[in-house]
């Protein structure tokens, strides 16, 4: 019993938000994804998105100028994610 409980995958639901040019490139403003990896990070989510291939792999290729905001604060790839977190992908900003 305790063994079977340990093998039930932990699901972390993350809200993804795509801004500006990325919203148009991906054809959506936001989505929820379920991450089943243990202790998921921002990098985990980016890898999952790249695995979709096509425009996803292209826009999120390493070296592309995409910033990530975790719960409205700019974040690095190793930030740990918790259920309900909001991860936004931001192209270079051009306000002011």
């Amino acid at each position: 019993m305790s063994d079977s409980r340990a093998t039930v995958p932990v699901v972390t639901t993350i809200r993804l938000v795509y801004l500006a040019r990325l919203r148009e490139a991906f054809g959506r403003a936001d989505e929820d994804i379920a991450v089943t990896v243990g202790r998921p990070t921002v990098a985990t989510v980016l890898a999952l998105l790249r695995d979709r291939g096509g425009i996803w792999a292209e826009e999120l290729a390493p070296g592309r100028a995409v910033r990530v905001a975790l719960n409205h604060t700019v974040s690095g790839g190793d930030a740990l994610l918790r259920n309900g977190d909001e991860v936004a992908l931001l192209p270079p900003v051009t306000g002011g």
Binding site: V17, L19, A20, R21, H72, A88, T94, G95, G96
Partner: protein, 152 residues
Amino acid sequence: MPVRVQTDDFDVGRELAALRGTDARVGAVASFIGTVRDVNDAVPVTTMTLEHYPGMTEKSLAAIVDEARGRFSIVDALVIHRVGALRPTDQIVLVAVTSAHRGDAFDACRYIMDILKTRAPFWKKEDTPAGARWVDARVADAAAEQRWSTDP
């Protein structure tokens, strides 16, 4: 509230008067207004749309103002940034800073603008004769931000 994101235009005279209030410690008011030009990178611009990331935008602007307060001796500061559809000559952004002396007022105002340009989550999409295009980030803006990190 020193930070506002709004679709409506703003009245600079009224905003500066409200920021100054009746505070007689203030000897200097530096301000900056960004406006829509009718040409960008040699391409005519008829209209533009400014979008942002609600929630993060206000947080980001407030953090920039706080950093300015930490670096410079200022009395108060105000940032108003518009979003939505804008046309040439429209006002986009107002940054205003009050201080006892002009050096701090100028420095803080410029600091807020420079950092806002590279960090606050706003994006411009321009309508041009060749179609709509997202504005590219300017190398000059990154250089302007960098200038502040070499300060003591």
